[in-house]
């Protein structure tokens, strides 16, 4: 995949297909330790040891439409190509946690890309899911929690056209703030010059 956020979307889709009603996404860009970590924890139906063992085998899938399940295999390959790992922990009836790590400055490490686009796409797959996002980068932390949105929206669904547009704009703004490195007030720039 061109962006790591596309792998993230793929894992989120798996979580939703497993019947998750809550998904917790964590992203950590740790420049000091030169690590980029992404994880998705869900409360879906989980996998037994046999299934877990076959996860990542491209010829194993629970789907019936075709014989190939590539998502996890692709993500593992992407992580290992960057001196990283893919770890999957799961318990039947409790849920699953997928964690991918990458050497942050590895030349083959794809950009993280459009995380807001991924989050919105996941919400359109199941607008009733509770989704939390915690993204650490640049010495800051971004938090997003659909429960906070629902507290204001009441029974208006997250995929209502005006709501989905608001979510897209809100997340885009959160990410601009997360990565923004410009000085806070233009007027003060002058005081920095000798």
């Amino acid at each position: 995949m061109r962006e790591l956020s596309l792998h993230l979307l793929d894992v989120l889709e798996n979580a939703l297909r497993a019947g998750a009603t809550h998904v917790a996404v964590k992203i950590d860009e740790d420049a000091a330790r030169n690590l980029l970590t992404m994880s998705v924890r869900d409360n879906g139906r989980g996998m037994d040891r046999d299934t877990l063992g076959r996860l990542g085998d491209p010829f194993y899938t629970t789907r019936t439409e075709r014989e190939v399940g590539l998502g996890i295999a692709l993500l593992r390959a992407a992580a290992e190509r960057c001196n990283g790992t893919l770890q999957v922990a799961s318990r039947v009836g409790e849920g699953t946690e997928v964690t991918a790590t990458f050497q942050r400055d590895h030349i083959d490490r794809a950009p993280l890309g459009d995380v807001p686009g991924t989050i919105l796409a996941a919400l359109l797959a199941d607008p009733r899911v509770d989704l939390t996002l915690c993204h650490r980068a640049n010495g800051r932390e971004l938090h997003f929690d659909t429960r906070e949105l629902r507290a204001e929206l009441g029974d208006v669904p997250l995929d209502q056209p005006r709501v989905r547009a608001w979510i897209a704009a809100y997340l885009k703004q959160c990410y601009t703030e997360l990565y923004d490195d410009t000085p806070e007030e233009e007027g003060h720039a002058e005081t920095l010059v000798d």
């Binding site: 995949m1 596309l6 979307l9 793929d10 889709e13 297909r17 789907r63 439409e65 075709r66 399940g69 590539l70 998502g71 692709l74 459009d114 686009g117 991924t118 919105l120 796409a121 359109l124 797959a125 906070e148 949105l149 204001e152 929206l153 009441g154 208006v156 995929d159 209502q160 056209p161 005006r162 709501v163 989905r164 547009a165 608001w166 897209a168 704009a169 809100y170 703004q173």
Partner: protein, 124 residues
Amino acid sequence: MPKLSSISDLRRLREQVQSDLSSRLETGTTITVGMGTCGIAAGARETLQAIMRELGEREIEAHVKTVGCIGMCAKEPLVDIEQAGQPRVTYGNVTADRVARLLDEHLVKGNLVQEWVVARLDSH
């Protein structure tokens, strides 16, 4: 400084939506985008964004949802358009750059884009 979004906007949005009669009526149009691994790899997330952008710009109300892989991976991104009383039409290879024409032809002008159709399911 551009106006900042905040969660309290949602309270106002909720009031707008609840008082807006046209929103109360179930929109008859549903657009479904395939979002399995194959779809994602083929650019379906970008297709989804283009669809929402076009709907917004043309002020067309439509329900937008995603589904997993249906097995026609070589034709991803797949987009279904279903309008009340019309057959459900599945379009293939709908990359983001094709969305404007697709929505204009199908939703605005009421014509199928035949060369992109991969399936049609007549309504009962």
